[in-house]
């Protein structure tokens, strides 16, 4: 019988599968490459307002418990800046905890490229030592900065931060009213994202990951 003598590899249905495989495998690879490229190139939805143009973040030098620190010391890294104070009962610790969790969720290499700077808007009470202890409670890598009233005022104004001493209680002392945005500066030193209060750590981490690509 003819069928029994036809070699297996040359059976019409085997050849069809072989042909399909030759066509499908490259298509599958092309599809995966396309999907990967699409995922990388599609616009990322940031968790805050994105400043598209080149808006160089103003440099400054303030004091930490480990000596003077300038923004330019962190050139080439992503810098998150937050203006708050150590007596802050809720907004500041929440934001710092979210920022710490976001950085923790990155790979070790990526986390090395992100620095958080906490600038006090209450220099009368926040000494450099107190700030250092406070920020390292959230993350050992965080830096806490203080300066004179004038220095802090100038830096805060240029970073869109309003603050003023408000009411308080005997237990808390006076409280500070202040703008609670988390500002993200990219590796080129441009102010890139203005993240409002309330954005969770996952969303912050996603922004950082996108900027680190």
């Amino acid at each position: 019988m003819t069928e029994t003598l036809v070699p297996e590899a040359e059976h019409p249905s085997s050849r069809r599968w072989l042909g399909l495989s030759v066509l499908l495998v490259p298509l599958l690879i092309a599809g995966l490459v396309f999907w990967w490229g699409f995922n990388r190139s599609q616009p990322h939805q940031f968790s805050g307002s994105v400043i598209q143009g080149l808006s160089a973040a103003p440099d400054f030098t303030l004091s930490s418990d480990r000596g003077p620190v300038s923004l330019s010391d962190y050139a080439g890294r992503i810098v998150m800046i937050y203006f708050g104070y150590t007596f802050c009962p809720d907004v500041c610790p929440t934001t710092l905890a979210d920022a710490a969790a976001a950085i923790d969720s990155l790979s070790d290499d990526d986390a090395e490229d992100v620095q958080l700077i906490f600038v006090t808007i209450d220099p009368a009470r926040d000494t450099a030592d107190r700030l250092g202890e406070y920020v390292r409670h959230f993350d050992d890598r965080f830096v806490g900065l203080t300066g004179t009233e004038e220095e802090i005022g100038s830096v805060a104004t240029l970073y869109g931060i309003y603050y003023r001493a408000g009411e308080g209680s005997e237990a808390t002392g006076y409280l500070m009213e202040h703008t609670a945005t988390l500002l993200v500066i990219d590796q080129a030193g441009n102010l890139k994202i203005v993240i409002p209060f309330g954005v969770e750590s996952d969303a912050i981490a996603s922004d950082l990951e996108y900027m680190l690509r």
Binding site: V6, G19, S49, Q52, T157, Y159, Y162, V194
Partner: protein, 241 residues
Amino acid sequence: MVDITTVSPQPIQEPRLTQRGRRWFVGIAVLAALVVGSVFAFVTFQPIQVLPRVRLAPGFSLVDSEGRSLTSEDMRGRFALYTFSYSSCVTCDSIDQTMREVQEGLASAELRGFEVALVTISVDPAETPESMASYAESVGADPEVWAFATVNDQRFLADVVAGGFGTYFSLGDDGIITLDRSFVLVDGAGIIRNEYKYATQASDSERILRHLGVLAEEEANSHGPAGLAYEAAHLFLCYAP
């Protein structure tokens, strides 16, 4: 005898595979052309126009013509148009005129319910709430819309006006103030969206009112998936003229 040549379909199958491959190739090429064409059409015809996010507006705490505090946080969630002047200025008529035209145009502007605040910041360190109140009245300011404010701290004023709003002014030893004409439009998130410093064919007030409409449209429509289209408009610099 086995006649293998009669059962091997190879000479017929090869052209079929090539044809199928060609169809795929054409399909992918058409898809790629559609994507490229869509991007090109989006950039060329700009179905969505936006205003650039220029930089952060400064944070401030000023005193208004009623002696109350006026802060950058009070402006959050509202569009704000800032200009710079002072009550004894004799060359600031055109600045006040532009602000008045914007104030009058707000009623008919397409703002989609968004609130707009006009703020004139006085750069005169000798300004008082009373002098600002007289100034506001003389230029026909509606106190519900148009505020006048200043601070008697020259260094802080310089940080806000020159450093933050990028507007040049100086106070000479003889007390003479030199000031650039400038209007700055800020969105509800505290980001500068446009600056008006140079004359164009369209008047400043006309452009400002049109741009307020563009901002309102973006604010109203850029949520959910449509947000991606607006981000694409920012990415491809589809800026309203």
